[in-house]
């Protein structure tokens, strides 16, 4: 009962579609990963001989190195600022009634529906208009706008699930508001805050479309540097970078799970 007999036609179709979906999810990174080890300067598949030379090239190519550090700077600033702003607004939206509440919420979430190139272009025009150089300030600001909805949602959902009676219990035990916040509210919201920040960081580090408009030669982030590279060369160093990207992101998430105890904290029995 409850299982589809696999020899029937619907059963076969179901099995086939599952295999197809998993296949299409795994195939692109798999192909790219294999291509990254090609010895030749071609993105051909399958490679005839294996080599690590394109990894070496990717790691030593000056534009990629600069792009990586630029991207890291932008990501750390953008996701941290977005976290501070997003958490503050999520808190206000959850706890207080104020004028234009819905409107403000809609505006904060609007970058979900505005295309990234529109935001990038807009910032480009504004920066030019006020005579601002295409420095990190513009890039970081654009990224904050782009990742804000995700941080806001993440923290807001955590707040919605938060049992306010825990704060009342702390108050009744003699904790002034600031101590309640530090000893009860923030520790219990930490998983939401951390996952919001992580999501923002990953999105920001991978962001290309808006970055293309707002970065300059000095501030270009890794995706932009990769784009510029592809316009001139078609060798497997792109594939090598992809592999490094995937490995780094996976490592970051694994680290978060293990050492921040995300999974553990998330499994805490939610009162209610």
């Amino acid at each position: 009962m409850g299982s589809i007999a696999l020899h029937t036609l619907p059963g076969r179709l179901a099995r086939l579609s599952v295999v197809a979906v998993i296949g299409f999810l795994i195939l692109p990174p798999l192909v790219v990963t294999i291509a990254a080890f090609n010895e030749k300067a071609l993105l051909s598949f399958p490679p005839e001989r294996l080599s690590l030379r394109w990894f070496a090239r990717a790691l030593t190519y000056e534009d990629f190195r600069a792009g990586f550090w630029n991207g890291l700077i932008v990501t750390l600033w953008a996701s941290s600022i977005a976290l501070a702003i997003g958490a503050a607004f999520a808190f206000a939206l959850d706890r207080y009634e104020f004028r234009l509440k819905r409107t403000i919420e809609t505006i904060l979430l609007s970058s979900l529906i505005v295309p990234h190139f529109t935001i990038g272009l807009g910032f480009l025009i504004i920066a030019a208009q006020i005579g601002m150089a295409r420095g990190f300030t513009v890039v970081v600001t654009a990224h904050v706008i782009l990742v804000l909805p995700f941080v806001l949602r993440s923290v807001y959902v955590s707040l919605r699930n938060f049992d306010r009676r825990l704060e009342q219990a702390a108050e009744s035990l003699g904790a002034p508001p600031a101590r309640v916040l530090l000893t009860v509210t923030v520790p219990l919201l930490l998983p939401g805050l951390v996952s919001g920040w992580l999501l923002a960081a990953i999105l920001s580090f991978n962001e290309f479309t808006a970055s293309l408009f707002v970065t300059g030669q000095r501030t270009q982030t890794l995706p932009v540097a990769m784009y510029n590279y592809v316009r001139e060369y078609a060798d497997p160093s792109m594939a090598a970078i992809s592999v490094l990207y995937i490995a780094a992101t996976a490592a970051l998430l694994t680290f978060a799970n293990l050492y921040l105890g995300l999974g553990k904290v998330l499994n805490v029995e939610q009162p209610r």
């Binding site: 049992d163 702390a170 035990l173 003699g174 000893t183 520790p187 029995e269 939610q270 009162p271």
Partner: protein
């Protein structure tokens, strides 16, 4: 405003009211809780009992009126300075802290040295009979254990008043009874003034020193469980506390303090307390407890006759439901002590219902 009346009370509420929008959750309510007393706020949901508790705790501020704790007006004192201990319906234990940290939280907030906190926490855990689990997290404890921790956490700070918000509603029925007895023992031992909120009338009757019966934002009656049960102030209290049969009758005659009421083919006496303005011929409702009536073989001159609908053996007593052919009521519940009644009053047997007391409660017919 520290009148002598207020200062002799653990908690004093003076004409406290609270509205939420257009809804008056609490209408000008006054109540004194004496030192060491367990006062229950009893009523159906929406009666204002939780609002009142939250006002005492400081989670809500009253629209009007004064709240005093040990004679000191606390209207403008925030919760964290009120020195209350509160136990929540969900227990509200901090899920990210160990049992030890949960119980010690209030002492830590008071800046007590670590060693003292440890000692006091141990004492509190002895008091609630739950030691050896200090390193556990709340999610690793059973419901009953969580409740003991919540109680220890509220008591360890030696609050001026203990507030209990439906603390037993999340427990199994079997566990509830023993926890109630333990709570009452601890409360009496510590002599701590306690406000206990519940909608469960049997819980209220068994635990309270006094109880306040509430409905629609008003305290209907304050008294000991016995007073409220035996001498309810109005129809609401009479029907909310304990099981009661409401039987229609008519006033036949009145003399000084007493009314004689015709019920069916019989009569019963009632106090005139609630019939002050009534005249002979006025229709009334007779409120009679299941243990105030008994069964007899049907004959004339008996108040009500009918057929047994069901006999339910309850261990120490038997509940017999009788179908009576009276307009406006379907069955009468009769509670007979002893086990031998089930066989005698079998389903379908013709039976008469007679009053076992000579004075019952009667109220003018409502509406």
């Amino acid at each position: 405003m520290s009148s002598s009346r207020a200062s002799s009370s653990a908690v004093s509420l003076n004409a406290v009211s609270k509205s939420f929008g257009a809804i008056a959750a609490l209408k000008a309510t006054s109540l004194d809780i004496r030192p060491g007393e367990l006062m229950t706020l009893l009523g159906p949901s929406g009666c204002g009992k939780t609002t009142l508790l939250n006002i005492v705790a400081g989670f809500l501020s009253a629209d009007a009126g004064d709240v005093a704790i040990e004679g000191q007006r606390v209207n403008d004192v925030p919760t964290f300075q009120r020195q209350i201990g509160m136990m929540f319906q969900s227990y509200a234990l901090f899920p990210h802290m160990t049992v030890e940290a949960n119980v010690g939280y209030g002492l830590k907030m008071r800046g007590m040295p670590r060693a003292d906190i440890h000692r006091r926490v141990q004492d509190a855990l002895v008091l609630v009979k739950l030691q050896g689990l200090e390193a556990r997290k709340p999610s690793q404890l059973s419901g009953g254990q969580q409740q003991r921790i919540a109680l220890a956490r509220a008591l360890v700070i030696e609050p001026k008043v203990l507030l209990l918000d439906e603390p037993f509603s999340a427990l199994d029925k079997s566990l509830r009874g023993s926890m109630q007895i333990e709570l009452k023992d601890i409360q009496r031992k510590l002599g701590i003034a306690t406000i206990f909120v519940t909608h469960d009338q049997s819980e209220a009757l068994s635990l309270s020193d006094r109880l306040a019966v509430m409905s629609e934002g008003v305290i209907r009656q304050v008294g000991t469980p016995h007073e409220v049960y035996a001498d309810p102030a109005d129809r609401f209290v009479a029907s909310f506390i304990g099981d009661v049969n409401v039987i229609p009758g008519v006033i036949e005659s009145l003399d000084d303090g007493r009314a004689t009421i015709r019920v069916g083919n019989g009569h019963v006496g009632a106090s005139r307390t609630h019939l002050a303005d009534a005249a002979p011929g006025t229709p009334v409702d007779v409120f009679v407890r299941p243990e105030q009536i008994t069964l007899a073989a049907p004959r004339e001159e008996i108040p009500l006759t009918g057929k047994v609908h069901a006999s339910v053996f309850q261990g120490g007593h038997t509940d017999v439901l009788v179908d009576v052919g009276v307009e406006g009521m379907s069955t009468v519940l009769v509670r007979l002590a002893g086990p031998a009644h089930v066989a005698r009053w079998a389903k379908g047997a013709p039976v008469g219902v007679v009053f076992a007391v000579d004075t019952v409660l009667a109220f003018p017919k409502s509406g």
